[in-house]
Amino acid sequence: MTFDCEKHILITGFGGQGIIMAGDILGKAATIYDGKNATMTQNYGPEARGGSCASQVIISTEDILFPSVYEPQVLVCMSQEGYTKNIKSLKKNGTFIWDEDLVKAKKHDPSWKTYHIPATRFAEELGNTMMANIVMLGFVAAVEDLVQIDALREAVLDSVPANTKENNAKAFDRGREYGEAILKGRAKQEKSRDRA
């Protein structure tokens, strides 16, 4: 089967972390602000909070027909269970992103691009751990080409309560800057390696 124009993203964590909301914002950014098509479907158990949950996002320039994500190209993990359950599904040459304080990651497939961030700790420093999902979104947008970063920022601000906009903007920017710094650092490393 071909799903050529589609980008498959799986965001995992536990209920209450804003995992579904993160997927919703990502899809909204693609659909409303970036002129693409997107679907977001959710997996969760009967529990409202604390249970394992996942948000499956597909972004495409074409119609999306089959909305399930079996082999994500991008896997974001914000819980150990989310990691253990889903890490095997990540595609070759895929991107693995995780919250380094919440997930103990093991050895990776060398074809993967890997990035980690203390998203929840950053959110706590900004005053509210509930914004960890937004820090993570900023980070994901910086290190992986999914949607225009400004489109995503706009979708974040459009999705959060009015009185939390300022803080969420800070959370998003914190994740984005951290991601951009990592990319720069890696580029530098590669350059010096080239020279050597």
Binding site: T2, T39, L65
Partner: protein, 392 residues
Amino acid sequence: MAGKAVMTGTYFMNGDHACCEGALAVGCRFFAGYPITPATEIAERMSRRLPECGGIYIQMEDELASIAAVLGASWGGVKSMTSTSGPGFSLMMENIGLGICTETPCVVCNVQRAGPSTGLPTLVAQGDMMQARWGSHGHYEVIALAPSSPQEMFDFTIRAFNLSEQYRLPVIIMADEVIGHMNERVVIPREEEITITGRRKPTVPPDMFKPYQADPDGVAPMASCGEGYRIHVTGLTHDERGYPVMDAATQENMTDRLIRKIRGNKDKIIRTDNAYLDDADIVVTAYGISARSAKHAVREARSKGIRAGLIKLETVWPFPEDLIRTLAPSLKALIMPEINAGQMVLELERCAGGACPVELVSHLGGGLIHPAAILDAVMAAHKGKKKKKKEA
């Protein structure tokens, strides 16, 4: 001050919410329900949005009461609806029959999850298709629609209300967990672009009015309570005046008309979205979420040079019998994917009447049918092999 009922604009919205917006846009102003996964988001949004739009939301004690209140509100003159999932749908069956018998316009949205019983509350299935058709006792006809996207949840909810008003019966929206919980682009048009069908009102003076005296198309004009017309509403077999009459002749008159008003207007009710049918020799017939997998498979088959076609059922009941009867003799196979052990495929088989083989691609719930499974069935039919039946 009434809020905005038509939220014109483009949204990234889930199917449950789109259902609410469709209902509000077409004029629904009453909702009585009991929350149940995966339909809870409908009740939740209605509880917030209806008061904004000058409507009423009631959280009922259970599903029996929910549908009863919906029927009552409709006789009060208000467009009304409820939403539920499998377990609640089962509880609503008796009063859906009351709605059929009393010819009460209303809409019931069933966001299907896997059963039987409590089953998989948060996971998808299409297992209530025959229940929608035959779940209440006695013989009757229904109208049921099957959306396959949040946009269709919006569009089909509007159509469900229009059909219910036009033909005076509960119209059922057969959605599923994935459609209900999936976010996708939903475009809500401008208010003036939305077609609204109201119920037919009496044209005779009150003393001449008989509440169940039908026009030639089988549908009787409907007076609401308090409009000055005498009405009598009963689930007992009744005559044109609405009075119970316990004999075979009245039973025949009444049930014949309840059936005829749907069968006789089926061409106006049935809608399918067909693709590549002109030269197709293998036709996948699908509905709801499975129609998306089917479309994917048919496109893939076409790219391999196989003459596959697609019939997407927008209305599942009544079933497009004439279309299938006409097509079947020229086909190598009809294929139906559905997330149950084979329900609508029985209807497909009946309509094909043995003129071509009919194959089921089945999933028993908790997940979607992968397009590859449908493509396999298409390939097998193309090669003239009978699909290998997997033991469940």
